[in-house]
């Protein structure tokens, strides 16, 4: 079977932006087309990953808006919403469109505009993904993280400081990412003394609220070299859901959607966790990076907290994780994040990651929606 190649990639500056969602999407989309030297009217399909442009901004119908703004009128468009995992789900949709033969050239643009709303309002928009039995109690995604972190630390006797090490590492990585929202190192003491948000987690255990956009361009591997020498290949991809009601999961420290989507991605690629050289994980909260390291098969359950603590996942470690700075320091514009994860892996395996470059032929991205409610795992390899 002809595999699917990534022939172009872009991301905008992440952070507090004076642009609305349409402008952010167009900025990333134009840059991605430029990256591959492709004209907008050549696109067969155009996908937009976005969670809540209607709720945040009162702008719906953004795929059609983007097609018009970019000059891609005539392309088939679709909005992909899977909350925080909209970007990963968009990668899945774009991959499907090319793998199935329905499209010869598909662009995916993920984006979100959030910072014009208060933290309380933005938190409520995101919390509205919860079941009524959860929402009525005022539960937020950060509160799920607090409850899960406490349970993890108590069950596996892991030190609280190990979560701070995740934040320290990802902030260190973000310093070298020109697109990151925060390019500032933090030390463990700062993390551990920052204000409590959802006990035992503190401000620096959480990603910020962010505006931004990222884009990827896909075509069949057989024609990729006609566009560029610097392409990568999506060799495996899987998507899965877990329960909607978070407390109904048998083991609160296992993200079933990560386990299931990774199993599919590994099987399709014919690779195992040992083959992965670099990973972008969904560190919306520090505890999530630890859970994904375990549920993706890199560590035994209960051991993932050691990774950042012992330097295994730092940029010069055995398995560099979140070389981009992760959601933690790069920022988390919901629909853009899963796209920006694959942007980073694409840059790493094509040797174009600048100061963040590590030795990598195989990379993995894991994009998590809700509190593990829906997940896409993608394996991206260097072209042969």
């Amino acid at each position: 079977m002809d595999r699917v190649a990534v022939i172009g990639a872009s991301m905008t500056q992440f952070g507090q932006r004076n642009a609305w969602v349409r402008e952010l999407l167009a900025e990333a989309g134009e840059a991605c087309l430029d990256d591959a030297g492709v004209a907008a009217d050549e696109l067969d399909h155009l996908y937009v990953s976005n969670m809540a442009s209607g709720e945040f901004e009162g702008q719906t119908g953004i795929p059609n808006a983007l097609a018009h703004d970019l000059g891609a009128i005539g392309a088939y468009t679709q909005r992909v919403d899977q909350t925080s995992a909209s970007g990963g789900a968009g990668v899945y949709a774009a991959w499907q469109s090319v793998a199935s033969g329905a499209s010869e050239l598909t662009m995916l643009v993920g984006g979100e505009k959030m910072t014009h709303r208060s933290t309380a309002d933005a938190t409520d928009v995101i919390a509205s993904l919860t079941h009524p039995a959860e929402y009525k109690h005022g539960v937020t995604l950060p509160s799920f993280a607090g409850m899960t972190a406490r349970h993890y630390l108590e069950t596996y006797d892991a030190p609280r400081e190990s979560l701070a090490s995740v934040a320290v590492k990802n902030h260190r990585n973000g310093v070298d990412n020109p697109h990151a929202q925060f390019r500032k190192e933090v030390d463990a003491e700062t993390v551990l003394e920052s204000p409590i948000v959802a006990d035992p987690l503190r401000l620096y255990d959480f990603c910020p609220i962010t505006d931004g956009s990222a884009a990827l361009l896909f075509c069949p591997e057989s024609v990729a070299a006609e566009y560029t020498d610097d392409y990568s290949v999506v060799s495996g991809i899987g998507g899965a859901t877990d329960t909607h009601v978070v407390h109904e999961r048998d083991d609160p420290t296992v993200m079933g959607g990560v386990v299931d989507s990774a199993a599919d991605a590994y099987e399709m690629s014919g690779l195992t966790p040992d083959d992965v050289d670099v990973a972008e994980l969904h560190d919306m909260f520090t505890i999530l990076e630890v859970l994904q390291l375990e549920d993706l098969g890199f560590f035994e359950k209960g051991e993932g907290w050691r990774a950042a603590d012992e330097g295994i996942t730092t940029r010069d470690g055995e398995l560099p994780v979140n070389t981009s700075g992760g959601l933690k320091s790069k920022g988390h514009p919901l629909g853009a994040s899963g796209v920006a994860q694959v942007y980073e892996i694409h840059r790493q395996v094509t040797g174009d990651a600048g100061d963040r470059q590590v030795a990598a032929d195989v990379g993995l991205a894991c994009n998590v929606g809700g509190f593990g409610n829906c997940v896409t795992t993608t394996v991206v390899e260097a072209a042969e």
């Binding site: 709720e55 933290t119 309380a120 309002d121 938190t123 409520d124 928009v125 919390a127 509205s128 079941h131 009524p132 039995a133 959860e134 929402y135 009525k136 109690h137 005022g138 539960v139 937020t140 950060p142 509160s143 607090g146 409850m147 899960t148 406490r150 349970h151 108590e154 204000p195 409590i196 948000v197 959802a198 006990d199 035992p200 987690l201 329960t243 009601v245 978070v246 407390h247 109904e248 609160p252």
Partner: protein, 122 residues
């Protein structure tokens, strides 16, 4: 008032109820009232960044109840943040857990009353 978990014909119990049993796909045909029961606090948090219409700080926890044939868990607000995992907890009715008119969700689309959990002295 009752605090109803839902049971399918194969004995699986969930809170809240679902269209079909998530475990086996059978219809949930019976209810189990947890209101007078005592459960165990699995984990908890105190949230200090709460959405519009939600008390601040908001103490939240997951409580596990033993029921015939297994266990069932429920998420809920706690009456106090002075708790530890493993504490014994009992439900306490509250007629409005958050202000229905302050948040993004349509007030008429769901109920807003429910149960908080309070520690019980052994």
């Amino acid at each position: 008032m009752s605090f109803e978990a839902h049971r399918c014909e194969n004995g699986h119990v969930t809170y809240p109820g679902h269209t079909v049993c998530p475990e086996c796909g059978a219809e949930q045909t019976a209810t189990v009232d947890l209101e007078a029961e005592t459960g165990t606090l699995v984990t908890w948090t105190t949230s200090t960044a709460t959405p519009p219409g939600v008390r601040e700080p908001n103490h939240l926890g997951i409580v596990e109840f033993d029921v015939e044939g297994g266990t069932v868990r429920a998420l809920g607000q706690l009456t106090t943040g002075d708790v530890e995992s493993g504490d014994r907890m009992t439900p306490v009715y509250c007629d409005e857990l958050r202000d229905p008119d302050a948040g993004i969700r349509e007030p008429e689309s769901q109920s807003w009353d429910g149960y908080r959990f309070a520690p019980v002295e052994d």
